[in-house]
Homo-oligomer: 236 residues x 2
DNA sequence: TCAGCAAAATAACTCAGACATAATAGGCCA
DNA sequence: TGGCCTATTATGTCTGAGTTATTTTGCTGA
């Protein structure tokens, strides 16, 4: 009937997805209690097994908490793993809170310049080759093309690899994906205020030269450009 | 017998914990396949239900992946949610990779100065009062005392609250907790190279004055001090 | 009236066994 | 050799029963 589901998620995954979206979208608020397993599961038309596994997934991401007798309820928002890839994706399926989007952009503006700085210090030839290659593809294809945007992401991934910090890499990867949801969401129907390629090249040159300060500065500049593409009101 | 478990984890939680620790400690390597559910569950002396729910938890954190016929296997490390609070805690139960610890310190040295900077711009009186109060407790109790260290954490939490960035806050909270595991792990049996309180006061004064650059600088200084307490070899 | 304790109620939790589904492996045929 | 088709197998799903832990209720006694 209403199978707006994606490829082939098993039932528990699909239910976890659905309830997860309901939570992050605010349809279910912190403190809200789920009906008992039997009622809730048969309300969804699934078995208790599948329902329970879905709840386990949500609990693993800090979205719900279940205790005997007390029942299962949505946890306080500060307990949520907001940067979990799934939670992030679910958040951007609905219409995410503008303030949260700002938070993510801000977080990226903290992470990526630092990554560029580290990359300038620790890059090796392979990293530089990857960046150069991605840059060439970007120039050849342009950012209007989807492959061109893939090249853009390759460029950023190469920088993260060069930064040599695993924790930073997984974090930036999640945040970067979320931010790209946003830009895709807005369909980038108008031209960018300025060609972004020169800024990318500046970042690359800074890293190539091993100039940490220059790389950081160039990356900051690049992100400001991306931010200008959004119509988010500037924060203080 | 071997009940090093915390409060009252249900079976599935306990098993998820145990297997999770085995994975992050490298006892089970990426690509390793788990035996079939029936064998694995009865090897652990539990039912298939509980075993499956444990696997669901691990899958939600990106540590394992299971597909029909192919079986359940440990995923590649770059897929792991390294910053998930549980994964972080499990990592620090074993003897974590020194490089990863360095990564976390480095990540904190990226996040917290930025948080201090934002806090200097956005703090209100309540935030300032919280910081001041925490600072007073720290002075009164000292960092040798456990309550004194709790005050230290309150200080940092107040800064994060003042920074007004939810994503930054949850992230810093996880990383900060992990870093504190490390320092507790080392039992801080020797005196700090310098009294950390003056540095804390400098951070506070920067935020109080609304001087973003000063707050950032002071926080960076503070973290360098904490880093010096560890015996990690300095990176380039 | 209230503090403390015991019993009942209720929800999640665990177990066992069966069947369904899907992806792989291997054989079969052209 | 190449592609298709079947058999295998592990995960996925369902059902129903029984267990456990926590909250709530209600009782008792001070």
């Amino acid at each position: 009937m209403d199978d707006a589901r994606s490829a082939s998620p098993r039932i528990h995954g699909a239910i976890a997805h659905d309830i997860g979206v309901e939570i992050v979208c605010g349809l279910r608020k912190p403190g809200d209690v789920f009906g008992g397993e039997i009622e809730a599961s048969e309300a969804l038309g699934i078995s208790r097994t599948a329902y329970r596994e879905a709840i386990r997934i949500l609990a693993a991401k800090g979205l719900v908490e279940s205790r005997p007798k007390a029942g299962t309820r949505v946890t306080a928002r500060h307990r949520w793993n907001l940067l979990d890839p799934d939670v992030l994706a679910w958040t951007f399926e609905g219409e995410p809170n503008p303030e949260f989007i700002q938070d993510l952009f801000e977080l990226r503006s903290v992470i990526e310049p630092a990554a560029a700085e580290f990359a300038a210090r620790r890059r090796n030839q392979v990293h530089l080759d990857d960046m150069r290659s991605a840059l060439d593809d970007m120039e050849r294809l342009g950012l209007a093309d989807s492959e061109g945007r893939a090249a853009d992401q390759r460029f950023h991934r190469a920088i993260l690899a060069a930064a040599g910090n695993e924790a930073l890499a997984v974090l930036a990867s999640s945040v970067g994906a979320a931010v790209s949801w946003t830009t895709k969401y807005k369909q980038r129907n108008r031209a960018l205020p300025r060609d972004p390629l020169p800024d990318h090249v500046l970042v690359y040159e800074g890293i190539l030269a091993g100039d940490a300060a220059a790389a950081r500065q160039a990356m900051t500049q690049l992100l400001h450009l991306a931010l200008a593409d959004m119509d988010l009101p500037p924060r203080m």
